[in-house]
């Protein structure tokens, strides 16, 4: 005879993803270094967005007709995301690799021996945090940046493509953070994983410029700077949604590979 028991966290028969997410949330929020790094990114991001917007706007009276035709005030303010190109993926890497560096991964896997759950929980926590922080920077840099445009044309949230650019840019950067998390699970050593990120995302696309067929346009930073964060998209660049799908693919590959290696390698 079975009796239907209302299930709650307390009466669950084994640990589940929400338990692990709670645990990872406590871990992430209890490190002063990650809190300060994110706060620093918000401040520098907004300041940078404002400064770069003001500098560009001051050039407006001298710009050629061609440059004026391609004037993209949204894109100018989103220069504020540039510090995030490094900060967000590095934090993603560290979320995994620092556990291997200090040995706490043993405590983590002792509590959660089904290791993929750990990676999924970290992805949920860090993905959510990175998404919120990135959107805060994106919107704050945009709103503040538009105030310093002076005589140059402004952008407003209501204009076509602007809201898309803001939301997708922040989301894209969060994906880059999750890509870093995957790299951290694959490589496990913080320094090497960060070097791998720099090689793949910063160096490789530059090398690809030498190759025919424009393969460099698949570089994450090219997509982010010229497609996601842009309202006027130049020819030869992936469309925002195609670019977002490409980054989602990179991220999925990194996370799946990281998850497989997490299971097959000794902790």
């Amino acid at each position: 005879m079975t009796i239907a028991v209302p299930t709650s966290r307390r009466t669950a028969d084994h640990y589940r993803l929400p338990d692990v997410v709670r645990s990872e949330w406590t871990k992430f929020t209890s490190l002063r270094s990650s809190r300060w790094t994110l706060a620093g990114f918000v401040v520098t991001g907004v300041v940078l967005g404002v400064v770069i917007s003001a500098v560009w706007a001051s050039h407006w009276p001298h710009l050629s007709a061609h440059s004026r035709a391609n004037w993209d005030p949204t894109n100018n303010t989103l220069a504020g995301l540039i510090p995030g190109y490094l900060v967000i993926p590095f934090l993603g890497v560290l979320m995994m690799s620092s556990e291997y560096g200090c040995g706490s991964i043993r405590s983590t896997f002792a509590a959660v021996p089904r290791r993929p759950l750990v990676l999924v929980a970290k992805a949920i926590v860090f993905g959510a945090v990175a998404f919120v922080v990135d959107e805060v920077v994106t919107f704050a840099a945009f709103l503040a940046g538009q105030k310093v445009m002076g005589a140059a044309p402004h952008a407003t949230l209501g204009q076509p493509g602007v809201l898309r650019a803001l939301v997708l840019s922040g989301a894209f950067l969060a994906l880059m953070g999750l890509f870093g998390l995957g790299l951290g699970a694959i490589i496990r050593r913080s320094a090497w994983a960060i070097a791998a990120y720099a090689g793949l995302v910063l160096v490789l696309p530059m090398v690809l410029r030498a190759f025919p067929g424009n393969p460099w346009r698949f570089g994450p930073l090219i997509i982010l700077g010229n497609s996601e964060a842009a309202v006027r998209i130049l020819p030869g660049i992936l469309s925002p949604w195609a670019g977002f799908a490409v980054m989602a693919l990179y991220t999925a590959v990194a996370l799946v590979a990281g998850g497989v290696l997490l299971v097959t390698r000794d902790a």
Partner: protein, 322 residues
């Protein structure tokens, strides 16, 4: 009854070409402290890591309460382990470290304060764990092991870095946990420590099982002999041998008598009018017996001065007893 048992069967693990663990089998029963004894590098830590499934074995299996570790419903509520001195992030406070572990297994928050109190870290609960001394780190590791109030406990060299007070505290804690009916596996390379803590011993060397016996059995194995000094050692040796009593003359002129107790030696000497200057019953040390047990399994015993000295001591006792 498999409840709370740790069963290790045919476990093997190779690192590169080194066989760290090589066909190891043993059972750890609840309600007593099982000492996991072996020299450094004999495979104790690797075995414990395989029980926890942190490392995958190349052969064999380990079961806790009849199940592989990853099938435990709430691992920390069933198995508590101290495997590394540093299994925490240095930037996180002790309290947050334990809270994160508690949340992962839906362990009540109140347990965090409770175990911090048990290990005596309440006053530094909010301090960064990176600033902890080795001994405090060890206490935090023990707190994590106790967090889920588990029935099975694994302690790998728990007294490392502890001061004498801490060592005594761990000893009492471990004995108390076993007395409550829990399964306790405690590794050490120090037989003296085991003699004070363990009820049962699993002795390994070079990744292989050397002996599985109770502490009492091991103590019974320590050779007993009577140390005799006399001005006439040759004559006493002669009359004792005539009486069928085994002995070994020692370089300092004394005799080690293994075939009789003090009364017999004294009576024999008196009957023959031989004066005795000393008559002392002695035990070989547990270290000697331990070294004898693992004699063949120590990797480089001939080249390490400490090891070879003890091995030589064990060898003399072996000759005396045989």
């Amino acid at each position: 009854m498999s409840e709370g048992q740790i069963v290790v069967s045919g476990l093997a693990k190779n690192y590169k070409k080194v066989k760290a663990v090589n066909g190891l089998s043993f059972v750890v029963e609840p309600g007593r402290v099982t000492g996991f004894l072996g020299p450094n590098g004999s495979g104790k830590t690797t075995t414990m890591r395989m029980i926890m499934e942190l490392d995958a074995p190349d052969a064999g299996q380990a079961r806790v309460g009849g199940r592989p570790y990853h099938e435990l419903a709430w691992p920390l509520r069933e198995v508590g382990a101290l495997l590394d001195t540093k299994a925490f992030h240095p930037g996180r406070s002790a309290e947050r470290h334990l809270l994160a572990l508690a949340q992962a297994n839906a362990i009540d928050r109140s347990r965090v304060a409770a175990v911090l109190d048990i290990v005596g870290l309440t006053s530094v609960a909010d301090k960064r764990a990176g600033a902890f001394s080795l001994g405090m780190g060890q206490r935090l590791g023990i707190a994590a092991a106790l967090l889920g109030d588990p029935g099975v406990l694994l302690f790998d060299e728990p007294i490392n870095g502890l001061d004498p007070d801490g060592i005594r505290w761990v000893r009492n804690l471990v004995r108390g946990l076993a007395a409550e009916g829990r399964t306790v596996l405690l590794s050490s390379h120090l037989i003296g420590e085991m003699a004070l803590t363990a009820d049962h011993l699993v002795v390994i060397g070079r990744g292989r099982l050397v002996a599985e016996l109770s502490m009492a059995e091991l103590q019974a194995r320590t050779p007993q002999f009577v140390r005799v000094r006399t001005p006439e050692p040759e004559r006493l040796a002669g009359v004792l041998r005539e009486a069928g009593i085994a002995l070994t003359p020692q370089p300092d002129g004394s005799l080690s008598v293994t075939g009789a107790d003090t009364d017999t030696v004294a009576d024999t000497a008196a009957a023959n009018g031989i004066a005795l200057h000393e008559l002392t019953p002695e035990h070989a040390s547990l270290e000697d017996v331990f070294m004898e047990l693992i004699h063949d399994s120590i990797e480089y015993h001939a080249s390490t001065p400490r090891g070879s000295a003890s091995a030589a001591a064990a060898a003399t006792h072996t000759r005396r007893t045989s």
